[in-house]
């Protein structure tokens, strides 16, 4: 009984290991593809046309590495993710995490691929060879057998011999697969985890800073709401109160004047309502709830004075605060497009990439957007940073301007 239990246990480990190897082979294939892309871009750089594509290498590498991290995390201790990629290629190249990812890519895309292939070959041979007596007669007689069998197979006895080899393969597979899986995972565990010491403390510092920024952004938000209620809505109501008081006093003395004052009071009421609506919209746009991010952004584009195309492809919903941030960033960006860019058209693209929401606002205007120019860009950057997101603005003089924002979906 104990022997059987032991065997069962070994089998279970082997099957788990096999799944692991298959998963690893998948990421190895992706890593290989990324490597090919890396080489192509590198060659392109040598002949001078690859430079604009360099950032894509880092992004592709990061995407594959994140997939491997997620896979390893499912199979064992968590592999902690890195901070967002640095904004430009030079910084990225100097970044330790990026370098380690590139090292992992070249290992996993080559050796990892071979190890993975070996790992699944053994069980495949085992199944093939063990079942060989059942289907050997389908083969043309000749010097060929299944898998690595190179000698001539004549009749059932030879086939049964092959079957024995198959059992040998199976035993090898059971014994080796989990080891192979560990071997294959080794580069990922070593190179994709944060580098010992310094890196993680930096990450903690960064998360602490973004958390503080989130609190700051929150407080600033509350202050903004308080101010717009006090200085906007409340003042409108006070003015209304004053006008009604004046109208009452005028009623006896000069009814015509009273009517005129009441007219102004009505204007003040309408203004108050309009401002109140704006304040409420500024807290959490109701349109997000009603029509989702795509509908809300389409509404923004519809109200934009510059013709604006919106392309949103986001399956599912993100956290409400993230959607609100995306909405505000786009609203602010479109305001800037109308106010400053002189563009004739703009384009808003939103995509979901794993757990990241990517927002891009591009226009064909004059460019030269300056973050210190008080165009709300600094505020947008803070707002995005508060979510540990990424904010990249490309706006050379002469244009065009592109704003890329990346936010974690939080769902």
């Amino acid at each position: 009984m104990r022997a059987r239990g032991h065997l069962k246990q070994r089998l279970r480990v082997a099957v788990g290991g096999l799944e692991h190897v298959v998963g690893g082979l998948g990421t190895a294939l992706l890593a290989f593809a990324a490597l090919v892309w890396l080489v192509l871009v590198a060659v392109g750089c040598l002949v001078g046309v690859g430079l604009p594509l360099v950032p894509t290498v880092f992004r592709v590498t990061r995407a594959v590495a994140d997939r491997e991290r997620a896979r390893l995390t499912r199979r064992g201790p968590e592999v902690i993710g890195p901070p967002p990629l640095p904004a430009n290629a030079r910084q990225a190249l100097a970044d330790l995490t990026v370098r380690r990812e590139l090292a992992w890519l070249s290992l996993h895309g080559t050796a990892g691929f071979v190890v993975g292939a070996l790992g699944i070959t053994l069980p495949v041979y085992a199944v093939e060879d063990i079942t060989f007596p059942v289907w050997y007669w389908l083969l043309e007689p000749g010097p060929i057998g299944p898998g690595i069998i190179w000698w001539r197979i004549d009749g059932l006895a030879d086939a049964a011999g092959v079957s024995l080899i198959g059992f040998g393969c199976a035993a090898l597979a059971v014994g080796l697969t989990s080891g192979i899986a560990r071997l294959q995972a080794l580069p990922g565990r070593r190179l994709l985890a944060p580098a010992p010491g310094v890196d993680l403390s930096l990450r903690v510092a960064e998360l602490t800073a973004t958390r503080a920024a989130a609190l700051d952004a929150h407080a600033a938000e509350l202050r903004r709401i308080e101010r717009s209620l006090h200085d906007g809505t409340q003042n409108r109501l006070v003015a209304l109160n004053v006008l009604i008081g004046a109208a009452r006093r005028a009623l006896d003395r000069n009814p015509d004047a009273a009517a005129e004052i009441l007219d102004r009071a009505q204007d003040a009421t309408e203004q108050a309502l309009g401002e109140l609506r704006a304040v409420v919209r500024g807290i959490l746009p109701p349109v997000l709830d009603d029509r989702g991010l795509a509908g809300a952004l389409a509404g923004l584009a519809g109200n934009c004075a510059v013709p604006c195309r919106v392309d949103v492809d986001v399956p599912g919903r993100c956290a409400a605060s993230v959607e609100a941030t995306a909405y505000f960033v786009v609203a602010e960006a479109l305001t800037n497009v109308v106010k400053h860019s002189g563009a004739t058209s703009a384009e808003v693209t939103v995509r979901r990439d794993g757990d990241r929401l990517r927002v891009r606002v591009a226009d064909d205007g004059a460019g030269g957007a300056d973050e210190h120019g008080g165009s709300g860009l600094a505020g947008m950057r803070r707002r995005v940073a508060a979510y540990d997101g990424r904010f990249v603005l490309t706006s050379p003089p002469g244009g065009p301007t592109t704003m890329d924002v990346e936010l974690p979906c939080g769902s």
Binding site: H230, V238, A268
Partner: protein, 216 residues
């Protein structure tokens, strides 16, 4: 009565000017920020300034600072400060150098035109007008062992109206009692609070406010 208004909200500024002009008062200038307000005070030498607390650039206490500065430049200038909400520190800052010719009212009081005008006239003639809300908050914060806790409900009413800056006649009208009765209450209040009675409105308010601040 010559009046300068400092208020950054255009609609409210014009509403106030319209209201006061309709009452036959002389609004000589309006300003939307502290600098132009101080200039207007220098050039028009008004009797009263009506000042909003929150003004540009930071929308915090610019109005109080400007009011204190205006009174430094033109001693005796009556100032009525309007505020969107009760902020104890503002009232204390304002009244720190005496309460004669000073007022601190919530903005919504302006709508009750008769009361607003009476407060304005009181301040212009050297009296005091403190918003009931401010007085109420001060009273609510007094320690239970302070003299205020020994006052009868009627005496508290009288003290509150006194603190708002009303004179004996106005207090008697409000509470529907005789002036003699008001006198009696005030003597009793001062006795309980350990203050010497005095008929001058501003000194009474100063005394009351000082006592209340000290007992916080």
């Amino acid at each position: 009565m010559r009046i300068v208004i400092a208020e950054d909200d255009a609609l409210l500024r014009e509403g106030l000017a319209l209201l006061l002009r309709a009452e036959g008062l002389d609004v000589v200038a309006t300003a939307d920020e502290p600098g132009s307000f101080l200039d207007a005070v220098s050039s028009f030498r008004p009797d009263v300034a009506i000042v909003d607390v929150r003004m540009p650039p930071t929308h915090t206490d610019e109005g109080i600072v400007a009011a204190v500065e205006a009174r430094r430049r033109q001693p005796g200038l009556a100032v009525l400060v309007l505020s969107a909400y009760v902020e104890q520190a503002f009232a204390t800052d304002l009244l720190a150098h005496g309460s004669a010719g000073l007022g601190y009212l919530l903005k919504e009081r302006v709508g009750r035109v008769e009361e607003f005008l009476s407060a304005l006239h009181r301040v212009a003639s050297g009296g005091t007008a403190v918003d009931p809300e401010v007085v109420g908050q001060l009273l609510a914060r007094t320690r239970p062992d302070s003299g205020v806790s020994r006052l009868s409900p009627r005496e508290r009413d009288v003290l509150t109206l006194m603190a708002e800056g009303l004179g004996n006649t106005a207090i008697a009208e409000k509470l529907v009692i005789t002036e003699g009765a008001v006198h009696k209450h005030i003597r009793s209040i001062f006795a309980k609070l350990g203050l010497a009675p005095d008929d001058r409105a501003d000194r009474r308010v100063t005394a009351v406010l000082r006592f209340l601040q000290a007992s916080r």
